[in-house]
């Protein structure tokens, strides 16, 4: 093959660090200007955008949550009319699940996984850019539709026939279904990138038993996404076909079935909540190991627990459908599988406790959040075991008991570790420390506010308050508990507000962060904060699962990569032996344009089915332009 002959030696072996840094910076830097930012493929820039956008949607979703609590604060309240209330709670649910929870976990992976496995960029970086540019219009569509009184009003899981052609008037349910398409395409894209990055671009020597636990959890999560998202894609597509083209998938009169929707949705639905939870497990393992000042206890059981949770997640979706009248024997099987998934969770909790037991805990903010997580999530897990029992579920299904349960496992189980992870990785991402003092206040307020808000909901559920009611009569005696819950929600809101204040303030006036403020063992702390565009001057070589604790002063590295084209190291799957010096594609505007074409096609296909046909032409054009080789050095092989 013809190799490009460059006068000076292109390799980085002979260069001293400063010269190498300058040359790599010119190579990997994202150009300035509007076009530059739109065509950036740097996983750190895209990761940061993802995180900021997701947290913005969290803020919006939180405002809706407060609106719900104000409406339910007293009986016969007239703060929200029923139609608006239905839109508010549906958009709150859909936004939190599809626009915040899954994207923010993937965002952290997009940013951190390449750094933690010691490579310079994520695999398929342009696909990564495309995934963000598809995710953003998805969010905008949902919120603009909500602002236009077109927000979906059928609940976040849009049961047919209420969301079907006859009872879902107007375009509201179509907006829901199309928003699903946007967010699922972006989630699937990121999942594929993460799998390939973790399989092929690990630092030499990082064999399977040396992969950081957060990377393991993201690998299992990515496989969950790849296997679960198609179910919701099939479901939302068949729903739109029923609504716009007149197919009969969910029409009981013409051979369709209403429960088919529930099976399809929950086959995705339950893995979805584990897609949100498993990354949090990875975060907790990382934080516990760092702040207990010792390697995680039970590395292998934790990894096996991840796999067990992932596999079992596909085997228990029917526990969402215990009251629809399925045959008893089917339900018993799903009781057993739903109970069984508590065992891997138990193993994870016990390994963390063992790590803390044997370590010397340093009570920084991330650890406070982990402690809050353990206390809260265990309650959520145990109420989960309660609702896994069929007879018990017939009393508490679709009541505020279940609302309490899933907030405990989602907010307690995923958002607490997420807040801890923000405090933990904020210095690496932004380059400045967040304030410990505010951190403690945030942890305290959020923990107390959360429990005061959501624990009474268990009682509300048991004394008969169903889900999704926009009001209730004074004769129901729910008024006082609801008022108490609404007031405590203010504390929780204050906690989150303080968190946002701390995050924004620290970005400007936080004290500058050293390379490894927490003296953590994983590779992302081996580079500057924030890391340069090329992450590492030279790809590190790994010989232990806690590299920075193994060799605290010096970092073994590999040389030989070229500096005249963007190169990173491909290694084998199990032993991570170097295989090739693969190139990493440069910036390109085409993913952004392809995302625009896809957005136009998806939104106009709500209004006319033919839009799918003429809409696919610009998509094909932009995709061809995206893949067409540009003759840059990266293309040489």
């Amino acid at each position: 093959m013809s190799t490009l002959d460059i006068s000076s030696d292109p390799r980085d072996t002979g260069l001293d660090e400063r010269a190498l840094a300058r040359r790599l910076a010119d190579l990997w830097q994202t150009p300035r200007g509007i076009i530059g930012t739109l065509s950036s493929v740097d996983h750190k820039i895209i990761g940061r955008r993802y995180i900021v956008t997701a947290f913005f949607f969290l803020l919006l979703g939180g405002v809706l949550a407060l609106a719900i609590r104000i409406q339910l604060a007293k009986p016969e309240n007239r703060f929200l009319a029923p139609d608006l209330y239905n839109q508010v709670f549906t958009v709150h649910g859909a936004n939190m699940m599809f626009l915040f929870a899954v994207p923010v976990m993937e965002a952290f992976a997009v940013y951190l996984v390449p750094l933690m496995i010691g490579t310079r960029n994520i695999a398929f970086p342009r696909l990564n850019a495309f995934s963000y540019w598809i995710y953003l219009p998805g969010g905008i569509t949902l919120w603009v539709a909500f602002a236009l009184d077109m927000g979906p009003d059928v609940g976040w899981f849009a049961y047919v026939p209420l969301s079907g052609p006859q009872y879902g008037a107007g375009k509201r349910a179509d907006i829901w279904a199309q928003m699903i398409t946007f967010t699922e395409v972006s989630a699937l894209a990121v999942a594929v990138e993460l799998v390939v990055t973790i399989f092929k671009q690990r630092a030499p020597g990082m064999s399977l038993d040396k992969i950081p636990l957060f990377v393991w959890s993201m690998l299992v999560t990515s496989f969950l996404i790849i296997m679960a998202m198609p179910a919701i894609m099939v479901a939302s597509t068949t729903l739109i076909l029923d609504r716009l083209v007149g197919t009969h998938f969910y029409n009981p009169a013409e051979g369709g079935d209403v429960l088919l929707w529930q099976h399809l949705f929950w086959f995705f639905g339950h893995p979805e909540v584990y897609i949100i939870f498993l990354p949090a497990v990875g975060m907790v393992s990382t934080i516990v190991s760092t702040f207990a000042r010792r390697p995680i206890f039970g590395y292998l059981p934790l990894v096996l627990a991840l796999f067990a949770t992932g596999i079992l997640a596909f085997g228990l979706w029917v526990h969402h459908m215990f009251v629809v009248g399925l045959p008893r024997v089917g339900e018993s099987f799903f009781t057993a599988s739903s109970m069984a998934i508590a065992v891997p969770n138990g193993i994870q909790i016990f390994c963390w406790l063992a790590t803390l037991w044997d370590g010397r805990p340093v009570f920084k903010t991330p650890l406070l959040f982990v402690i809050a997580f353990i206390i809260t999530f265990v309650i959520g897990g145990l109420t989960g075991v309660m609702v896994a029992s069929v007879p018990l579920d017939t009393q508490v299904h679709d009541t505020y008991f279940v609302v309490a349960h899933f907030h405990y496992v989602l907010v307690g189980g995923a958002v607490f570790p997420l807040l801890g992870a923000v405090y933990y990785w904020y210095p690496k991402i932004i380059g400045r420390m967040m304030s410990e003092r505010l951190g403690r206040w945030v942890a305290g307020l959020v923990f107390v506010g959360f429990n005061l808000t959501f624990f009474p909901m268990h009682i509300l559920g048991l004394i008969g308050m169903p889900r999704r009611v926009y009001t209730y009569g004074p004769e129901m005696n729910w008024g006082s508990i609801n008022l108490f819950v609404s007031l405590s929600a203010a504390i929780l809101a204050a906690g989150f507000l303080l968190f946002f204040v701390d995050a924004i303030r620290s970005a400007f006036s936080g004290e500058p962060a050293p390379e490894n403020p927490w003296n953590a063992p994983t590779l992302e702390w081996a580079t500057s904060s924030p890391p340069p565009s090329y992450n590492f001057e030279r790809i590190p070589v790994v010989s232990s699962s806690d590299p920075l604790w193994e060799t605290p002063e010096t970092l073994p590295v590999a040389t030989g990569l070229r500096t005249d084209r963007r190169e990173l190291l491909l290694t084998s799957l199990s032993e991570a032996n170097p295989q090739a010096r693969e190139s990493s594609p440069r910036d390109s505007i085409w993913p952004f344009l392809a995302a625009i074409a896809t957005t136009v096609m998806l939104i106009s296909s709500i209004f006319s089915a033919w839009a799918v046909v003429w809409g696919s032409v610009p998509i094909a054009v932009t995709l061809i332009a995206w893949f067409w080789p540009k003759g840059t050095p990266e293309d040489a092989a």
């Binding site: 059928v154 390697p295 805990p361 017939t394 048991l462 108490f484």
Partner: protein, 336 residues
């Protein structure tokens, strides 16, 4: 219920001003199903609370332990590792045991609810967007009658209700008597329960069904068998004759105006079946699916402006003069 459970129940409801012994509450069971479910809930709750306390205790212990020596993170201490391994293994084994125990407990409870009864009182509940149509079935067709939003059941005798949805998915749930069961369009579900103590128990639709999901309640009135038979005989009769001239005029307004197109009052020419059967509406405790108590004032308020009281309801605002309104509400109140 065992005194200890009652105490715990009191404790659990110690929140400010909350009264748990409501008429629509899982915690105040009035039938065998609900009682066995409450026992199950308490069993699970106690076990889970113990597990939680244990975990939090271990966490506190792990955090509060005095450390003797500080050492490098990677210093390997095989003896401690093995000891910890044993501890975690034991804890996992304990978890498996607890989980299996709870699963078995659940299966036992399920079988308890399964027993079917042949002498059950047979009803059919059909869920409409935002009210309940109740049909009392009987082998003799002329003893089948329709009512709405209210079920009378004899105490001690099992009741089997066929559940069918007319539009979207609803869910039949009377927490004081039994767990919920969904009404699914295109499928026939059934639920069986028995009331042991006379009383009025409230149920509510538990599956989101649109604009007025919040106001889709119904009542189950458990009464001694004699009272039940009396009520049933009364329901079979045609509408009672009107006594005052006001009620007579009201009957005229009812049959001439749009009311007759949607509602049936047996004994008059009104025989529309799009809305609830009003033949004995005044004998019901609530109207508009648990929204207003059935007094003459409520009738007038509801007929005058249903869209304000229950926005989105399929009952239209029928324009009536004030005399018509007064007469119709008198007529309604007379339909005992």
């Amino acid at each position: 219920m065992r005194p200890r459970l009652k105490a715990l129940l009191g404790a659990a409801c110690a929140l400010p001003g909350a009264s748990c012994v409501g008429w629509q509450s899982t915690l105040s069971p009035q039938g065998p199903h609900a009682e066995s479910l409450l026992r199950l809930i308490f069993a699970f709750a106690i076990v889970c609370a113990l597990v939680w306390i244990l975990v939090v205790a271990m966490l506190a212990g792990a955090l509060m332990r005095r450390r003797r020596i500080s050492r490098e993170p990677l210093a390997s201490r095989p003896r401690e590792e093995r000891r910890l391994g044993m501890l975690v293994g034991a804890a996992t084994a304990a978890t498996v045991v607890v989980i299996t125990g709870l699963t078995v407990l659940s299966f036992v409870a399920t079988r308890g609810l399964e027993a079917s009864h042949d002498d059950a009182l047979k009803l059919r509940m059909r869920g409409y967007q935002w009210w309940w149509e109740v049909t009392y079935l009987d082998p003799r067709p002329d003893r089948i009658f329709l009512t709405a939003n209210e079920i009378h059941v004899p105490i001690g005798r099992p009741v089997e209700i066929e559940l069918s949805a007319a539009d979207v998915i609803h869910s039949f749930w009377v927490p004081s008597l039994a767990g919920k069961k969904d009404l699914i369009p295109g499928r026939d579900n059934a639920i069986t329960f028995t009331a042991t103590r006379p009383g009025v128990y409230r149920g509510q639709c538990a599956e989101f069904c649109g604009l007025q999901h919040a106001h889709m309640a119904f009542l189950v009135i458990a009464e001694p068998p004699e009272a039940f038979d009396g009520w049933r005989r009364a329901q079979l009769t045609d509408a009672s004759a009107q006594t005052t001239s006001e009620e007579e005029r009201g009957r005229g307004v009812f049959t001439q105006k749009a009311c007759a197109a949607c509602h049936t009052v047996r004994g008059t020419s009104a025989s529309g079946s799009l809305g609830p059967d009003l033949t004995h509406v005044a004998s019901r405790r609530y109207i508009a699916a648990g929204l207003l108590e059935s007094t003459r004032g409520s009738f007038a308020a509801w007929i005058a402006d249903p869209e304000t009281l229950k926005p989105g309801s399929n009952m239209p605002n029928v324009p009536l003069t004030s005399d018509d309104l007064r007469d119709v509400s008198a007529f309604m109140a007379s339909l005992k």
